[in-house]
């Protein structure tokens, strides 16, 4: 048997050099995100090539409107999903908050109506938060239950009727544009930046990601897990209500059905954007791209005149293709030790 004994090398242990994240790694991470953005850009260019009217200001603002409704709600959902939670009651919260706006608008100022909507979003979010945190019901079922509860409340409140919004001031505020950009889109961008900030730059966001990653460890680290859980549902409720505020303006009305099925669009935008359902991490930037991607896709199918039934097929197929392409490249995104 050979015996190789090298003498211990004197020197600085390598761990002491202050290494920053390798430039390669930063690039790779960025490319991981850029990738979806790339898909989005390619999609826009391709559609614009086939249908130049895609770049028309009217069309762009239409796309941005669509992206904003989903996106506003998706900001709240991003926080929830990063925390390993979920809220299916989006459609219910939007309905109740919007109906409230539509109901009080004739009697008060727009500002008051808005505040009322956001307050309702917060209260309904609180209900979800308490059920999940203290009654300890799985988020999926708790919020499925409250979805029905809120929808029922909305229908009962309005007797199933539509509550019209006649205030033209409200409508022009919620559907107005600043330059080329729709107001809700601007709000969405601000909210997305805020979401990024909350998630990455605050102790609250860190707590969310911490218990989304390993709840038991977060509790033992002394983090205010319960409070954060309740709070994130409240914040999400406010985001949903905000989406409702603008949606109601666009529809000039509010009613129980106004956002049925919306929860799936919202969750899809978040997940496609790259926030994994298992929690622990979230990307607000991805959510913005995800929301835009869906809006562009739907718009493109209409502009290209794709027949309805084929739209179902193509929507799904494009989505799979887009994600599959990227998934190969960034499969290393799985987190070790997250079993």
């Amino acid at each position: 048997m050979t015996t190789t004994v090298t003498t211990p090398a004197a020197g600085v242990p390598s761990a002491e050099q202050e290494a920053r994240p390798g430039i390669g790694q930063v690039l790779r991470q960025f490319a991981g995100r850029q990738y979806l953005l790339g898909v989005l850009v390619v999609a826009c260019v391709a559609v614009g090539f086939a249908r130049p009217s895609f770049w028309g200001s009217g069309n762009l603002s239409n796309v941005l409107f669509q992206a904003s409704f989903v996106g506003l709600a998706a900001c709240g959902m991003t926080l929830l999903i990063a925390a390993g939670l979920l809220d299916l009651s989006v459609g219910g919260v939007i309905a109740v908050a919007s109906i409230a706006v539509a109901t009080v608008l004739p009697h008060t100022t727009i500002g008051t109506a808005l505040l009322l909507a956001l307050a309702i979003g917060a209260v309904l979010g609180l209900v979800n938060g308490l059920l999940v945190t203290y009654v300890k019901i799985a988020p999926f079922i708790a919020t499925l239950g409250t979805l029905y509860l809120f929808l029922g409340a909305a229908f009962i409140w309005t007797s199933g009727k539509v509550v019209p919004i006649t205030s033209s001031k409200y409508r022009s505020f919620t559907t107005g544009t600043v330059g080329l950009l729709p107001v809700p889109f601007l709000v969405f961008v601000v909210l997305a930046v805020g979401t990024y900030f909350v998630l990455q730059r605050t102790y609250f966001g860190r707590t969310l990601r911490a218990f989304g990653s390993n709840e038991r460890a977060a509790v033992l680290a002394g983090l205010p897990v319960n409070r954060a859980k309740v709070l994130v549902f409240v914040v999400a409720g406010v985001c949903f209500a905000l989406a409702g505020v603008f949606m109601a303006g666009r529809l000039s009305s509010a009613e129980g059905n106004m956002a049925t099925g919306f929860e799936m669009d919202v969750i899809a935008a978040v997940v496609v954007g790259g926030t994994a359902l298992r929690g622990g991490r979230g990307t607000a930037f991805g959510t913005v791209v995800g929301a835009l991607l869906f809006a562009v896709l739907n718009n493109a199918l209409n502009l290209l005149g794709v027949a309805s039934y084929w739209q179902y097929v193509l929507t799904g197929a494009v989505l799979v293709a887009a994600i599959a392409l990227g998934a190969r490249r960034s499969s290393a995104a799985e987190v070790r030790g997250a079993g």
Binding site: R51, S53, G56, S57, G58, N59, S61, N62, F65, Q66, F69, F155, G160, K161, V162, P164, I165, S168, R171, S172, T174, T175, G176, T177, P182, M247, G249, R250, L251, S252, S253, E255, G256, N257, M258, G261, N298, N299, N302, L303, G305, A307, S308, Y309, Q311
Partner: protein, 319 residues
Amino acid sequence: DETTDAATGSTDTGAEVQFEAKDPLKIGYSVYDLQNPYWQSYSAGVKAGAEAAGIEAIVVDQKSDQNAQVSGSLDLINQGISGLIVTPVQPSALPSTIDAAHAAKIPVVIADIGTAGDYDGYILSNNYNGGELAAQHVIAELGDKPGPHKVGVIELHAGSVVGEERVAGFVDTIKANDAFEIVSSLDGNDTVDGGFAAAQDMLSANPDLAVIYAANDDSAIGAQRAMETAGKSVADGFFLIGFDGSDGAQDLIEQGLMSATVAQDPFGQGKRAVETVLALLDGEDPGYDDAAAKTVFFPVELVTGENLADFQAARASQK
């Protein structure tokens, strides 16, 4: 420049809008939901109307989504159409769409369901009247037999505009008659499986149910199957009435499995909607039944086993 800022939502105030036909002449139809046979016929009618006029029709499906109603209509406007036909999932959401269309000098014709805003034409099926027709038929057939006859109603999805009217027309008429009692009114979700489940449960709760009125044909078709399972049959005097006059319902009536359906004329309405748009573009009178409300009325008719053949013949000649 045809592109408009479609989202400003500013309301045109009364001023007469000058329409302008663009070249090539295309019209757009934003349809409620193509999963439903009724709207399939409607859209076929629009296409037929366009073809007859030698123009192109672009159809966009809202897929029952209110937001898609708005964005889909705007997508059409942004494609340089000359006329817009909309069947709104949510009529109250129409005004901003209409404003955008008008800004692009495009006339807007509302196809069924309901209106809001400054529309240029409205093609309407009389849903309340349809409910009345269904009730009157039941009363005529059963009214003198000793009652009270138990009646079940299958509603459209919660919050449906036309559903409310269809149910109201029926219920108001039936309630006025002592021989009938409405014992159950359930949501059939506008679908075959929804209608099945609702009928199943109302038959369980009321084994002596005598009448089911379903507010659309898909749910009536589901209800028929539930009746069969529960051992009820039209042949034995049970009454099953649907709404729409869809092909599926006609088949069941022909086989003696369904009593009647309140037929609307979606195909005819679609054609008429196109004609209305073209007339507006040409500055001609579209021939409204109610000029003040810019409305064209489409009557509904009751189709039973007896008049089915005539009905079908009339419909065939229409195409």
